[in-house]
C-alpha cells in the first residue's frame, strides 16, 4: 500500500517510514498539513497517518480537505496522537478520522490497524465498482425504455377517431401500460375501437400491444368485420404469447350514418350504457373468453349488435377501475360505477377514474386503468363512404413478348392490375372480353396471320387453334403492347393496343358481318361494348374507350 505520513518531527516520520517499509508498503512524507494536501493532490494514497499538532496547518484542519480530495474513494485517516482526553478524540472523529495510533508507536498495533483498514478499503472498492455497474445498467435501461416508449407513442399516434363520439383516458401503473385503446376510422367512415387489458402490467404486458395494434390497423384499413378482427387477434396472440398470458378485450365498430354498434367482448368487465332520457343504465356483458386462450377451432367470434337510436353514452373500462371497489364490495363494483354515472352523467373518463379513486381510497392502485366513453348517436351525422376503397386515375403500360404469349393467358395479369379499382372490378367480365378480343386479334391476325375462314368448317375451329399453337411456338421477336389509362372522374377506360405485326384492320362495314359466320365476332364485340373504337391509320394500333356504367 501507498501510505502518506504527515508529522512535523522528522524523527517520528522516520520511525513510521521504517516500520511501514519493512512491511512492504511504500511511503511519502509531509511535514505539515499544507504539504500533505499538496501531495495528496498529486498521487493517490491508500492510507494517511496524520499528526494532530503541527505548525502551519494542523491535522484537524487537514483531515476534511484530504477526504474531499479522495472524493467517493475511501481514504482512511489514522490520527497520530499523544492526546487522550475525550474532547480531542471527538474532534479527530468529527474531522473525519477513522482510527488513532498513540505514541510510542507499536509495530504490531500499526500493522493490525492497517490490515483492518485494508479490508474496509477492499469492501469500499467493491461497493464502488458495483455502484458504477448499477448506474451504467440503469442508464442503459433508461435509454432502452425511452426507445420503447417512443415506439408506443408512435403507435398511439396512429389512433384516429371522431373526437365528439369517442373520449378516453389511459392511466398506467408503471412506465409501460398493459392496457390499450386503439381507434381508427375505416375507409367506409366507420369508427373502430379496441379497449384491451393484457395480463400483468409493465413492459412484459405492454409488449403484446404491438402485434395487436398491427393486426387492428391492418384490419380497419380494409374495414374488416368485428368477428374477423377478433378471430385474427386471437390466432395471432395464441401464436405469440406464453400460455399464461392473454388479453381481455372489447372490439367495437360504430357504423357511420347510424351509430349502430357491433361488438365482440371477451374477459372484460360489464360496460355501462347510460340512457340520457330515462336516466337509467343497462349493461353490456362480455360473452367470451379473453383473446389468446382458445384454439382456433373452439374460438367463438360471434358478435353483439345494438341499435343506438336515442341519446346513449356507453362507458367501457378495464378491470383496474373497479379493482379497489371489488376488494371492498366484492361483486357489486360495476353497480356502484353505474350509480356514479347516473348521479353525474356528464363525467368524462378522467372524472370517472378520479371519482372511483375518491370513493375507494384505501388501497394503492397497482393495475393500469383505462376508460373509454362513446356517444354512438353522434355517428349519425358522419359521412358514409362506399364499402370499397377509393378509385384513382392510373395508367398501365405492358408489353407482352413471344415468351409471355406462349403462356396461356397473359391477359389475366393485365386484368388483375386493372380490376384493383372497385368500379372496374364490378365489370371485370366485360373488361376481360374486350381485352381478350384485342389480344387474340393482335396475335392471331396481326402477328400470326391465321385465316379466320377456317373456323367455318366443323373441325376447322380445332385446326385453327392447332395452327395458332404451332405458329406461336416458332414465333420470335414479337410483341403486343398495351397502354391502359383510367380516368376516374369520367369513369372511362382508354385502351390502346399495338402489335409487332400488321396491326388492326376493321372490315369495311361491321354491320354487314354475316351472323352465320363463325368468325369476325371479336371486333364486332369490341365495337359494341366500347363507346369508341378507332384504328390509327399510321401504326394500325387500336384505340378504345370503355365507359363504366
Amino acid at each position: 500500500m501507498h501510505i502518506l505520513i504527515v508529522d512535523d518531527l522528522a524523527i517520528n516520520r522516520n520511525i513510521l517510514a521504517t516500520m511501514l517499509q519493512s512491511q512492504g508498503h511504500t511511503v511519502a512524507e509531509a511535514e505539515n498539513g499544507l504539504v500533505a494536501i499538496d501531495k495528496a493532490q498529486q498521487s493517490l494514497f491508500d492510507i494517511v497517518l496524520l499528526d494532530v499538532m503541527m505548525p502551519i496547518k494542523n491535522g484537524i484542519e487537514t483531515a476534511p480537505e484530504l477526504k474531499k480530495i479522495a472524493g467517493d474513494r475511501f481514504l482512511p485517516i489514522i490520527f497520530l496522537t499523544s492526546l487522550d482526553d475525550q474532547q480531542s478524540t471527538l474532534d479527530c472523529l468529527a474531522a473525519g478520522g477513522d482510527d488513532f495510533l498513540s505514541k510510542p508507536y507499536d509495530m504490531a498495533i500499526l500493522s493490525a490497524k492497517i490490515k483492518v483498514l485494508q479490508r474496509t478499503i477492499e469492501l469500499s472498492e467493491k461497493t464502488r465498482s458495483q455502484n458504477r455497474q448499477l448506474s451504467q445498467y440503469r442508464k442503459q435501461v433508461e435509454r432502452d425504455h425511452a426507445i420503447v416508449e417512443k415506439v408506443f407513442a408512435n403507435l398511439y399516434q396512429q389512433n384516429r377517431y371522431y373526437p365528439d363520439v369517442v373520449n378516453f383516458t389511459l392511466q398506467a401503473a408503471s412506465s409501460f401500460n398493459g392496457d390499450l385503446i386503439l381507434a381508427d376510422i375505416a375507409p367506409n367512415g366507420h369508427q373502430y375501437l379496441l379497449i384491451g387489458d393484457f395480463t400483468g402490467h409493465g413492459l412484459a404486458a405492454a409488449i403484446g400491444i404491438l402485434p395487436v395494434a398491427q393486426c387492428f390497423f391492418d384490419a380497419t384499413s380494409k374495414a374488416e368485420s368485428v368477428a374477423k378482427i377478433a378471430a385474427t387477434l386471437n390466432r395471432r396472440l395464441l401464436e405469440l404469447l406464453p400460455n399464461d398470458r392473454f388479453c381481455a378485450a372489447t372490439i367495437i365498430e360504430l357504423a357511420a350514418g347510424s351509430g349502430n354498434l357491433t361488438l365482440w367482448s371477451g374477459g372484460m368487465p360489464n360496460a355501462i350504457i347510460y340512457h340520457t332520457q330515462q336516466q337509467k343504465t343497462d349493461k353490456i356483458v362480455a360473452q367470451h373468453m379473453s383473446l389468446g386462450i382458445l384454439p382456433e377451432h373452439s374460438f367463438d367470434a360471434s358478435v353483439q349488435n345494438f341499435v343506438t337510436n336515442s341519446d346513449h353514452t356507453i362507458t367501457f373500462y378495464t378491470d383496474g377501475l373497479i379493482e379497489r371497489a371489488h376488494s371492498e364490495q366484492l361483486f357489486f363494483a360495476d353497480e356502484h360505477l353505474a350509480k356514479i354515472i347516473v348521479e353525474q352523467p356528464t363525467m368524462g373518463p378522467q372524472d370517472i377514474i378520479e371519482k372511483m379513486q375518491h370513493n375507494f381510497p384505501n388501497q394503492m392502485s397497482c393495475d393500469d386503468i383505462s376508460v373509454l366513453q362513446i356517444n354512438p348517436a353522434l355517428m349519425s351525422n358522419k359521412k358514409k363512404y362506399g364499402d370499397t376503397a377509393i378509385s384513382v386515375n392510373f395508367t398501365i403500360e405492358v408489353s407482352f413478348n413471344e415468351a409471355d404469349m406462349r403462356q396461356t393467358h397473359p391477359i389475366d395479369f393485365l386484368l388483375e392490375q386493372i380490376c384493383r379499382t372497385p368500379e372496374l372490378q364490378n365489370e371485370r367480365s366485360i373488361i376481360y372480353t374486350i381485352l381478350i378480343e384485342t389480344y387474340n386479334n393482335a396475335l392471331e391476325h396481326g402477328i400470326l396471320k391465321l385465316n379466320s375462314e377456317l373456323k367455318n368448317e366443323a373441325d376447322g375451329l380445332l385446326y385453327y387453334y392447332q395452327q395458332r399453337e404451332q405458329r406461336l411456338a416458332n414465333l420470335s421477336s414479337a410483341y403486343v403492347n398495351y397502354v391502359i389509362r383510367y380516368q376516374a372522374d369520367q369513369k372511362q377506360l382508354f385502351i390502346t393496343v399495338k402489335d409487332s405485326g400488321t396491326g388492326f384492320d376493321l372490315p369495311k362495314n361491321l354491320a354487314d358481318l354475316n351472323n352465320q359466320d363463325c368468325f369476325g365476332w371479336g371486333l364486332k364485340l369490341i365495337e359494341s361494348l366500347c363507346a369508341s373504337c378507332t384504328i390509327n391509320k399510321e401504326d394500325h394500333s387500336l384505340n378504345l374507350i370503355y365507359q363504366i356504367q
Binding site: 396461356t408 393467358h409 365489370e427 367480365s429 366485360i430 376481360y432 372480353t433 381478350i436 378480343e437 387474340n440 373456323k455 366443323a458 373441325d459 375451329l461 380445332l462 387453334y465 395458332r468 351472323n515 352465320q516 359466320d517 363463325c518 368468325f519 365476332w521 371479336g522 364486332k524 364485340l525 359494341s528 361494348l529
Partner: protein, 101 residues
C-alpha cells in the same frame, strides 16, 4: 376452366356445364362433347352458371354447335348466364339463334 356433360335418362337431352373461362382452350372438349350425338337427342342445354369469362371463340364454338346439330336438334338452350355474360350474348344477337334464358 372445365367442361362437364351429362345425358338425360331418356337420352333426349344433353347438358353441358362450363365453369371458369369459356375460351379456345375448350375447343377440343367442346367439339368432343357433341361428337357422335345419339339421334334421340332433341335438346342441348349449355349451362353458363359458373362461367366467369367468355370470348369470341366461345361464340364461334356455339355457332359451330348450332350448325352441326341443326338437322337433328330442336333447340339449344343457353341457361343461367351471369348478367355480364348475358350482355355479350345479346350484343352478338345470340338470342335470335339460341334460346337464351
Amino acid at each position: 376452366m372445365t367442361l362437364k356433360k351429362e345425358m338425360s335418362n331418356l337420352k333426349d337431352k344433353l347438358d353441358i356445364q362450363i365453369s371458369g373461362k369459356f375460351d379456345f382452350n375448350l375447343v377440343q372438349d367442346f367439339r368432343e362433347a357433341y361428337r357422335d350425338l345419339p339421334t334421340s337427342v332433341k335438346t342441348i342445354e349449355i349451362d353458363l352458371h359458373n362461367t366467369d369469362y367468355i370470348d369470341s371463340s366461345a361464340l364461334g364454338m356455339l355457332l359451330n354447335l348450332q350448325k352441326n346439330t341443326k338437322n337433328q336438334v330442336d333447340s339449344i338452350l343457353i341457361t343461367r348466364a351471369q348478367p355480364q355474360i348475358k350482355k355479350i350474348l345479346q350484343i352478338a344477337r345470340f338470342d335470335k339463334l339460341f334460346d337464351v334464358e
